[in-house]
């Protein structure tokens, strides 16, 4: 089995067990307000980190890819205009694709 398949199945198992844990575990184990707050903030920190890393890196090197940055800027604009999820995605990918097609970035 390839490494990617193992990662796919391990992610699936981990995600499922986290969902099951809450239905099974007594509430007081996770009832601490700070633990709850931490679990609420973990996705915020990780998602922000993912945005930053995926926008500016290739492997372990920080790179400046104008097309990617312009695509993200388009996403920000779409979000400010309260566009739905798919419109945000299409605006980002479309901007990057257009700049690359035109050879600008």
């Amino acid at each position: 089995m390839s490494g990617i398949w193992i990662a796919v199945l391990a992610t699936a198992a981990g995600c499922y067990l986290l969902k099951l844990a809450g239905l099974t575990v007594p509430e007081r184990l996770l009832g601490n307000p700070r633990v709850k707050r931490f679990a609420e903030l973990v996705p915020v920190a990780l998602l922000a980190a993912l945005v930053a890393v995926q926008a500016t890196s290739k492997g372990s090197a920080l790179v400046l890819d104008p097309a990617r940055l312009a695509g993200l800027a388009a996403a920000v604009l779409a979000l400010l205009l309260r566009a739905p999820f798919l419109v945000v995605i299409v605006a980002a990918a479309g901007t990057a694709a257009a700049l690359r097609l035109l050879g600008i970035a």
Binding site: T11, L18, L41, L46, A75, F85, V88, A93
Partner: protein
């Protein structure tokens, strides 16, 4: 599945447990129709973004089968995008997997609250667990009683699960026929999706914005030093600092 649902703005933090306040008749008519309708509509609206996941996953180098397996089995949007991004970055699969699983931690809190609300026991718990997402939790928590909560949860689960998986398949197969993923901007889908997912949280409060900025700064600083994937996990320290720095928020989300 995704934070982007109306959940953050629309869903009440607490289910209102006062079925006795309503006449039985209106509870039957309006009470049964709304959770089903709302759940189906939300599932359709959010599930369509499986198109973006399928395209991003194939652009990242996963096969269409692997993209579909993630949607069928992991069924957690942010985690799925994260794993695809880690694979695209060519980093450590172990770190990518760990980061993806950490992103699913929020679902443990949802199911904790849903356990009391849905009152599922025995083997049924195993099927119910898979359905726990931002969306199904939001719909269930918005219902006035246990029965409506269960109905809303099931309707959302069914609608979102079917739509998300069908959309993943279409996105994955479609992107596979496009050719170079970069020329179609597929490499920007991941970060744009994360930005959309995090957006409502950034507006929730100053702590959220500080944690986001801190997480991004930690990850960027660590990127040249650590194998790809690991910097994102380190960003969890920003969440730890945020949780310890302040009293738990009074925004009504910590029930």
């Amino acid at each position: 599945m995704t934070d982007y649902a109306q959940c953050d703005e629309d869903c009440p933090a607490q289910p209102a447990h006062h079925p006795a306040d309503q006449p039985a008749a209106s509870r039957l008519s309006a009470g049964a129709a709304r959770p089903v309708r709302d759940g189906i509509l939300l599932g359709l609206a959010v599930g369509v973004s499986g198109l973006a996941f399928g395209a991003a996953a194939v652009g990242a180098g996963l096969s269409a089968w692997q993209a579909c397996a993630l949607s069928l089995l992991a069924y957690t949007g942010a985690s799925q995008f994260a794993l695809a991004g880690a694979i695209a970055g060519g980093g450590s699969l172990l770190a990518g997997t760990a980061g993806a699983i950490m992103l699913g931690s929020r679902n443990a809190l949802y199911s904790l609250r849903l356990a009391d609300l849905l009152q599922v026991h025995g083997l049924r718990r195993f099927a119910t667990a898979q359905g726990v997402t931002d969306e199904s939790a939001a719909i269930a928590l918005a219902q006035p009683d246990h029965a409506a909560a269960r109905t809303g949860f099931r309707a959302t689960f069914a609608s979102l699960y079917l739509t998300w998986n069908a959309a993943t398949l279409i996105g994955a197969v479609g992107a596979g026929r496009l050719g170079s993923p970069q020329s179609f901007g597929l490499d920007v889908i991941g970060p744009a999706a994360f930005l959309a997912l995090i957006w409502p949280r950034l507006q929730a409060g100053r702590t959220e914005r500080a944690v986001a900025a801190g997480g991004a700064a930690i990850a960027l600083a660590a990127t040249p030093l650590l194998p790809a994937g690991a910097p994102v996990i380190l960003a969890a320290f920003a969440a730890l600092a945020g949780a310890l720095a302040r009293r738990p928020s009074s925004d009504g989300r910590s029930a």
